[in-house]
Amino acid sequence: MRAGSYEIKLVKRISLTNLRALMLSVIAGVVALFAFGFVFVAAGIDPFMAYQKIFSFSFFNDFGLPLTINRFIFLLLCTYAFIIPFRAGLWNIGMPGQLYAGSLAAFGVLHVLDIGKSTTSHMSPLIIWGLMLAAAAVAAAATGAIAGFLKGKYDINEIVVTMMLNYMAYWLVSYMIKEGGPFMNPGGRGESFELPSSLHAPLIWGSPYTLLIALALGLMLFHMFAKTKLGYEIRAYGQNPAAASYAGISRFRIPLLVFILGGAIAGLAGYHYFGAVPGVYKIARNYGFFGDLAFYGIICGLISRGNPLASIPVAFLFGGLSVGGRYVQGELGMSFGLDYALLGVLMITLVAFQFFYQYQIVTTRIRKETSDVGILH
């Protein structure tokens, strides 16, 4: 392509330094927010005012900040659930299904122990929390394992499989908590029974203790990818499965393993929102909304390029944006789904930016006009 006396060419990047990748990610985020500004403009609202409201509510408001932190923990866990398979070149879009499975298992523990209904327990809450966490992780890991197993053993497209599992888990939750299902709230209302107050999760600095779990997981995953044998195996498989098998890395074990790990973490996300966030403590009627929210994990994973530490600020930012989006929607009288629209716009901008991670635009001055090529007779 030409512009004046300059030629604009696309050149494949030979290398991408971390700094440049960071810059690109920041630019992508800014461009996405700019693009999203048009949604406000279309609704006749000043975008600067809207963003100002979003940010001040999400990050600087005593009421909004805790909501942001709760959502941040959730998104971070979903991001990790996405990242682990992503580093192996696989797409886990089954976070919703996995987190539903995890929530059901966590509440299943109470159901089995017959807590919930009698509201008293002779067991130490510590043990019960431990059991709930473990059950959530195991059940979600098992859900993930289905996709990993089918991918590793039969090479079945993991996107289709995880999506099918999402819908199955979705309806399973409905069955469990609605219309006389085993976990139904005694008051009806289409939600699950509530956690007794003795089992409300402990708070650290005003936030659920799952915050510590999520941050610790970030450090562990970072270490795993950078320094351990398993991390190397996952990355090698993700870059080139044929070369990985040459090096003795199992083409069956890695897909299975990444989906088990990713699933387990998604299960914790489910436990977090329905079992540890103050004011919820039950599988809510609108549980489908939290499933949809899990897809922000894909965006955080893409923008942090699979880096577990970079995911932390990204998840915090997007957690705030989604909370703030819902808030201004009500505040400014906009129609439902503003946070969904943000999700869509962010995603598509990021997709377009995938290009810049691979290519750079180089402009060079053209020395002389070369004649157009063609057949001369």
Binding site: I14, K229, A236, Q239, A243, S245, Y246, A247, G248, I375
Partner: protein
Amino acid sequence: MLLKQIKPGEIVLEARGITKRFPGVIANDQVNFEIKVGEIHAILGENGAGKSTLMKILFGQYQPDEGDVFVGGKQVKFKSPLDAIDLGIGMVHQHRKLVPAHTVIENIILGHPGAGRIIDLPRVSREIGELCERYGFSIDLKAKIWQLSEGEKQIVEILKSLYRGAEVLIMDEPTAGLTALETEKLLASVETMSRENLAIVPFITHKLPIVLRISDRVTILRQGKVVASFETEHATEKSLARELVGRDILIRTERTTVEKGKPILEVQELSAFNDRDLMALNGVSFTIHEGEILGVAGVSGNGQGELVEVLAGLRPSVKGKVILDGKDVTAMSSRKRWQLGMGYVPADRNHVGSIGEFSLVENTRMNYYFDSSFYTRGSLNQHKMRAFTQELINEYGVAAPNPEVKAKNLSGGNLQKLIMARVLSRNPRLVIAHLPTQGLDIGAIEFVRNKLHEAKENGAGVLLISEDLDEIFSLSDRIAPMYEGKFMDIVPIEQARRDAVGAMMAGITLEEEI
């Protein structure tokens, strides 16, 4: 079409002063070349001599930086291969440009404007049938490409060009991958075509006897320049070789015989399927001892790939046993075999032997990531890994600025050096080298062969798989010609004759006393 007006003996295609530069290299430097109607004009040159660049310029895939191309005396500028095709220039690719899942007919008419919007199958088959008759080709037009042999695929490529009206036929390595029998047939057809006034330009790397046999003229390229151009009748194999490499000797490895030790690898009646579930490896048995190179000679696609993969633990065997250093490893995983002393240099260094997006350090790690000596309490000792990679780079003379560059930025030769370094540094008991010098330049070929020989001198057993008889004869202690999934024989080097081995690669046992 321009060519119809050109009479036999006149120049049909000419290139004058062609120069083409790529970052850091001049691929073609003032190259001149011409071909007359009814002539066979071979272009000879090593890898990297600029052959494929010239070929792509003549076919319109590249545009020259300087110089002009003339067809029938008129200057032309090709924007794309389509322009070249329209002027009657056809290309027969070495890596066959055919769709495997489609039929012969579908491949021939692909992109041909004359096939009609709704494909008129009866008319098209008739026309192609006539072409076959005229040039003496026989082929089943309804067969799928994947069912065909290499020789048949080449016929399809030629037919495709002819059906589109090609009068100049550029052939890239026309005999690569063909058996001796198929080569004979092809050469006969080429001669028929030149008698029918087609101009034929075969590009050949180093099969000198073929050049001598079929061409009328030969032009030799070296480092992007034309170093010689003469009538073939004045040439000998020796004179061609001298011009080709610029020195008198071809590559020769000093082969020493080492005392044969105990058996390292014993293979008994090994059979395996290929990806299409056909029996591609069919009851192969052999033994390799310490200090010995067994050379498997064969045209690719005769089960060598399957043999190597089964030995490396990457493909299940259906029958038979593999015993590595006294242990039965038939059911063991690939990693287990690496740990037991297998070292494997795969044929595809870009997609199997290395990970392009990984740094050289991480590529070295491919054969060491499971080795506890590089970890402290499960955590990688990055410093040690990097130092080790640097050591290998120095020792093997890999041209790389530092060990952090990505593998995809290395040239083929340097990448192969890194892979060899990584594999051989494990001091493997058994080295499996699959087409280790394919596509390398002469310097790198020499290096790789010397390293394999060194490994043997150090007491390893080496399984060398190659298509190149020169390579097989210069390195092997015993030679196993392979054909259709079987070893035709295993011949000690002292008793091996080139013609007999060559014939066995084509499935023919010469009935002579040895």
